[in-house]
């Protein structure tokens, strides 16, 4: 038998938990299916679980640790009666009424939950380079979590791939431990914000390898270096590093919604202008799963609030 809910929120980053706080306070008894622990950003609490100091979230003048901020969001949602389930959604049917949601075996006939409205806040996860031996070397030199693993590269030479804010932030953080951090970027300038760029250029431990791409990992059981190629001249060289941190961008967690929700070409969920409404009435999207422009904790939280209010109004109009 399926359990029925008024609101099911899928995902538990700043967007999902803000939606939970608002819908719980509106007495809609939301269920948050928060995901399962992992060492990637696809996990309860979302991408902030893999960060250290969050300096730009308003209300914390001296900053706050990412995991602590998310623990606060979570307990605030629980305080108003949101129910949290530490499982992963494996399948949805948004063409059914009420909506159908499965956790665990996606082949089971009965959905685990049915819902009058669904808020999708599954976020985005870090992209990998998809080179041979990558998965085997994760945890043995290749890392998706600078804050988890930086400590182990004390006085070693390492590299970060990427040129955006997250790449520069990781390099700055890693420079506390490593003797040298090389930022490998395929362009000749950074996409990172001005303040981050200035900090990186001023950091004596950070060097730049412009116009280069990583083409191969060297090392069988642990990383010993990477082969890099100049994107214009196609010349190859080797960089000896014991650690490589990948920060080349994100991809939205939308695989279970394909063929059901309208997506942009890049896979992000389409929402109506100035709202969280998707192409299906009663299904709302918020946070990074529908935002490839701003992608901040504060904008995710703001859009989570929008989704909660949109869901509340929709339920009122369709009550009974």
């Amino acid at each position: 038998m399926s359990e029925h809910k008024e609101v099911v929120i899928i995902g538990s980053g700043p967007a999902g938990l803000t939606a939970a706080i608002y819908t719980a306070r509106a007495n809609l008894k939301p269920l948050v299916i928060e995901g399962e622990p992992s060492s990637t950003s696809d996990q309860p609490g979302g991408q902030l679980m893999l960060t250290t100091d969050v300096e730009n979230y308003p209300g914390f003048p001296t900053g706050i640790m990412g995991p602590e901020l998310m623990a606060n969001f979570r307990s605030q949602a629980e305080r108003f009666g949101a129910e949290l389930l530490t499982k992963k959604v494996t399948r949805v049917n948004l063409h059914a009424s009420p909506f159908e949601i499965w956790v665990g075996d996606p082949a089971s006939i009965d959905p685990t939950f049915t819902a009058d409205s669904v808020i999708v806040s599954t976020g985005a996860k870090a992209l990998m380079l998809n080179l041979p031996n990558e998965i085997e070397l994760v945890g043995h030199g290749i890392s998706t979590c600078a804050t988890c693993d930086g400590f182990f590269f004390k006085d070693q030479e390492i590299a970060v791939v990427g040129g955006g804010d997250s790449a520069v932030e990781e390099a700055m953080f890693l420079s506390r431990f490593a003797s040298k951090v090389t930022i490998i970027h395929r362009r000749d300038q950074l996409r990172a914000s001005k303040i981050m760029q200035d900090r990186a250029f001023a950091n004596p431990k950070i060097e730049f390898l412009w116009n280069h791409e990583v083409t191969e990992y060297i090392g069988d059981t642990k990383l010993e270096g990477v082969k890099v190629q100049n994107v214009t001249h196609k010349t190859e060289s080797t960089l000896s590093v014991t650690g490589l941190f990948i920060a080349i961008g994100h991809t939205p967690n939308t695989s279970i919604f394909e063929d059901q929700l309208s997506l942009h070409e890049n896979g992000y969920i389409k929402t109506e202008h100035d709202s969280s409404r998707t192409n299906i009435n009663g299904v709302f999207a918020c946070g990074d799963v529908q935002d490839f422009t701003y992608r901040q904790a504060i904008t995710a939280a703001g859009s989570g609030c929008m989704a909660a209010i949109d869901a509340e109004r929709w339920l009122e109009e369709h009550a009974g």
Partner: protein, 108 residues
């Protein structure tokens, strides 16, 4: 925190791991690691449910960096199961309880 998990230190690690009469899982963790915090309650549960088959212990890598280096821990959480003092299984990265229990099925 709980009676079911053992807290190891650099000073007690070798003695406890070698003396254990059943397999002992050592969780290499640190305060600053988000994924470590997420699996901590799962390990507590496994400790109380599977305590007769496997002992669950925690080692803070900030306090015992040498031991983390000795076992080439380069990423946390890393869970290493020692059987009669010998490392026999290594699990890197946070996982769900079901996935962890499957990884540990040979011991429980």
């Amino acid at each position: 925190m709980s009676d079911s998990t053992t807290t190891l230190t650099a000073g007690t690690f070798d003695e406890v791991v070698n003396a254990s009469d059943k397999p002992i899982l050592v969780d290499f963790w640190a305060e600053w690691c988000g994924p470590c915090k997420m699996i901590a309650p799962i390990l507590e549960e496994i400790a109380s449910e599977q305590g007769e088959h496997i002992q669950i212990a925690k080692l803070n890598v900030d306090e015992a960096g040498d031991i983390a280096r000795r076992f080439e821990v380069m990423s946390i959480p890393t869970l290493i199961v020692f059987d009669e003092g010998v490392p026999t299984k290594r699990i890197v990265g946070a996982k769900s309880k079901d996935a962890l229990l499957e990884d540990l099925s040979e011991f429980i």
